[in-house]
Amino acid sequence: MDAMFRIWRGDANGGKFVDYKTPVDPGMVVLDAVHRIQATQAPDMAVRWNCKAGKCGSCSAEINGTPKLMCMTRLNSLNLDMPVILEPMHTFPSIRDLVTDVSWNFEVKKKIKPFKPRKPDAPDGTWRMQQADIDRVQEFRKCIECFLCQDVCHVLREHRKFEGFIGPRYFVYAAALEMNPLDTEDRIPELRKQDGIGYCNITTCCRQVCPESITITENAIIPLKERVVDRYFDPLKKIFRIL
């Protein structure tokens, strides 16, 4: 059976969609089809990928308009009567074809205060933690840094707030640090000011595209918003501060 793929080809100066017809087999994912097209019709087509198992988060793209990993999107989940439309992530600058420049994300991470553990609990320099206390942080640490949540977030995608807003990926990162039972650092002032958590109006778009099913909005962002509000906007505390 043949299927049609309408793939965006171009670079920072612009580009266009090109149609490729290729045979497809049962069980194939979108990345398989892209590889087949690359090997037989378009050897210089740019695509970023690594593990092909949904673990590295490299092959992020927009498939029929939805941000997804190409390696985890099976063709039988798509309507092959129509061309499958493949585009690079819209939020980040184009490098070439399906590859975008995601370097902004790496710069953002550097600015978030690193992990700072409390003194070890035991004389041998180790800590004691209960599984129940780390369950929620382990959810955040499943993140594969595919940046699909950044891609879909309207604060970045539509409003281009690359200054003054860090995006869902880094709220999850900050939440993992803030909720780590060993951590002693305070990141609440930054979250309020330069990280711009207030810009998030919890539309849950990020959570809906997360390939690791991390409950980004409810488990990471909202609790962080609550911490900011507790610190700065609690009316009782405000009165005490004035007194």
Partner: protein, 604 residues
């Protein structure tokens, strides 16, 4: 004259998986200037794929464990071809390296009393693998990445090294290109750490990502360093077999550690039929005992599914060849059956093996809490690599260090699961420390401009030949197909002789590879550049496998199906001759000190 950008470092680390990042962190902590080159984006290296855990004798779950038992297990697994010094250091230092990860933010699963939990794994006598569900590698690389970015190291993402630069017998730096723009880059360095991982992409069915093209092996070989143990390629017994497009993707050994069993098409647990003498005393003789082991009964022995990987892979291969395989040419791996023993087993499986649940559900429409998986052997790991000094990790080329999968020695003829992640952090740390020391003790080396220019000119040739010439993708596919067929899990002399001819012919074709377009993020060009490395390691694997006329560990020769005691005394080393020919010879293993020998006797 090709133009290039130039950077200068004390220590250059090539590769940013677990070993590379750990080396870079260590070197940076010694106050030297560190550069890191990675073939992908930071944090995407193959370490993310490691699932089961990191082996360290923490003795948190079973207090009988200690470094001596871990050392003995590693040596037995490696069939005593290991570099014993590395096996010793690894077993001694792994616990500290794991605890250090926790100090840097890693969150391992916990025991009831709040310590790091450890699980059972093939070949390890006691529960030894610290883990995070089945995504331990991701936890490790993220921890190292998030810690490393605050240590001052400079990271060059999506860059590929084409050649190492030499100055009068010592390392001088590296030369390569960045993918984004296709520009050439020179990295001058007083010391270089290779941490480039493995060679899985030389084979068709593999659990490895596209980067695993043997770059470090080939770069070091061409620079004059020695390779060792190249015949030992580990075929992991359980890769996915269906659908075809995911064939080879890893199914963690953790499935078997949690009680998963292997059955053939007749429903029989065939692993009970073939238990090697070396492991008889430690293996369960009934299904009931095997299950008790998986639930933590200290008096039970492990089920035969947890025998070493080489053995399990061959047993699966045998069942399939005998016509007792599953519909798509594998066997059945069943974890769903534990519902007989565990209430709410579905929740239990999803909690213990979340990635596996997800992977099968999404890629194969299989719910592993209800039905068995189909699995078969997949090319997984390279035991062989750059020959290094056990303490410093320096290769035979002064100033060139190697750590992780690209280095040889720790694993001997076969690696135990979990010993790879610990290898990365133990020897990454050591390589970083000694590379920093080397950089402090030596002045900058001179750069040979002619080597740079000839490398650049050669790299650009495929563009001149254009798309009508040989297709680099087709050459790579043909190599993978033939290596799988001729130098795979069961080897025989005539087929390997044939493989050498195939490699020579493909080398000829690779010299005529052509590509379309320009240098900016051109996957066709990248594929053409990787061919040279893949062909070099394929030849090395084949020549070493031909010379070792016996079956041991991961190497199984159909024409020499037994272990030969004579061969237990030798490693095979490979180096480049003065005419560019590949020299393959056997080298006696240095005698093991009596105190280590005593330990092996005691815990055997």
């Amino acid at each position: 004259m090709a133009e290039y950008q130039s950077y200068s470092y004390d220590v250059l680390v090539i590769g940013a998986g677990g070993a590379g990042l750990r080396a870079a962190i260590e070197a940076a902590s010694k106050g030297v200037k560190v550069g890191v080159v990675c073939k992908s984006l930071l944090g995407k290296a193959h370490t993310v794929m490691a699932e089961g855990g990191v082996a360290a004798a923490l003795a948190n779950v079973d207090d009988r464990d200690n470094w001596r038992v871990h050392f003995t297990d590693t040596m037995r697994g490696g069939q005593y071809l290991n570099n014993w010094r590395m096996a010793e250091l690894h077993a001694k230092e792994a616990p500290d390296r794991v605890r250090e990860l926790e100090a840097w933010g890693a969150l391992f699963d916990r025991t009831k009393d709040g310590r790091i939990l450890q699980r059972n794994f093939g070949g390890h006598r006691y529960p030894r693998l610290a883990h995070v569900g089945d995504r331990t590698g991701l936890e490790m690389i993220r921890t190292l990445q998030d810690h490393g970015i605050h240590t001052g190291m400079e990271v060059h993402m999506e860059c590929t090294v084409l050649t190492l630069l030499i100055d009068s017998g010592r390392i001088a730096g590296a030369f390569g290109y960045d993918r984004e723009k296709g520009h050439f880059i020179l990295w001058k360095a007083k010391a270089v750490v290779l941490a480039t991982g493995g060679i899985g992409r030389a084979f068709k069915i593999t659990s490895n990502s596209w980067e695993y093209t043997g770059d470090g092996h080939a770069l070091a070989y061409r620079a004059g360093a020695e390779l060792k143990d190249m015949e030992f390629v580990q075929f992991h017994p359980t890769g996915m077999v269906w659908p075809p497009s995911v064939r080879g993707i890893l199914v963690t050994e953790g499935v078997r550690g949690e009680g998963g069993v292997l059955r053939n098409s007749e429903g029989k647990r065939f692993m009970f039929d073939d238990i090697p003498d070396l492991y008889k005393a430690q293996t369960a003789d009934s299904e009931a005992e095997g299950w008790r082991y998986c639930t933590g009964d200290k008096n039970a022995r492990r089920p035969p599914e947890l025998l070493t990987r080489d053995h399990v892979a061959r047993c699966i291969n045998r069942e399939v060849k005998a016509g007792r395989g599953s519909p798509h040419g594998g066997v059945f791996l069943d974890i769903a059956w534990i519902k007989q023993h565990i209430p709410k087993s579905e929740e239990h499986i999803k909690r213990k093996l979340p990635s596996m649940y997800h992977q099968f559900k999404q890629l194969a429409d299989i719910d592993i809490t209800k039905e068995p998986m189909e699995v078969g052997p997949t090319t997984h790991y390279m035991m062989g690599g750059i020959s290094v000094d056990g303490d410093s990790q320096m290769s035979t080329l002064p100033g060139l260090f190697a750590a992780g999968e690209v280095a040889a020695g720790l694993h001997g003829a076969n690696r135990l699961g979990g010993n790879s992640l610990s290898d990365l952090i133990v020897f990454g740390q050591r390589a970083g420390e000694y590379a920093a020391q080397f950089a402090k003790e030596h002045p900058a080396a001179a750069i040979d401009e002619s080597q740079i220019q000839s490398t650049a000119a050669k790299a650009l040739e495929p563009f001149e030949r254009g798309p009508a010439a040989e297709n680099p993708y087709a050459i790579q596919y043909d190599l993978q197909e033939k290596m799988q067929e001729l130098v795979g899990i069961v080897r025989v002399e005539s087929e390997m002789e044939q493989a050498l001819e195939v490699v020579a012919a493909l080398r000829e074709r690779a010299a005529h590879a052509g590509i379309a377009g320009h240098r900016q993020y051109n996957n066709g060009w990248h594929t053409a550049m990787d061919l040279d490395q893949l062909l070099t390691v394929s030849e090395a694997i084949t020549r070493a496998a031909l010379l070792r006329k016996e079956s041991r560990g991961a190497q199984f020769r159909d024409d020499y199906p037994n272990k030969d005691p004579e061969w237990s005394k030798y490693n095979i080393v490979i180096r480049r001759g003065s005419q560019g020919e590949m020299i393959v010879e056997r080298r006696p293993i240095p005698p093991i000190p009596t105190e280590l020998l005593k330990i092996i006797e005691e815990f055997k």
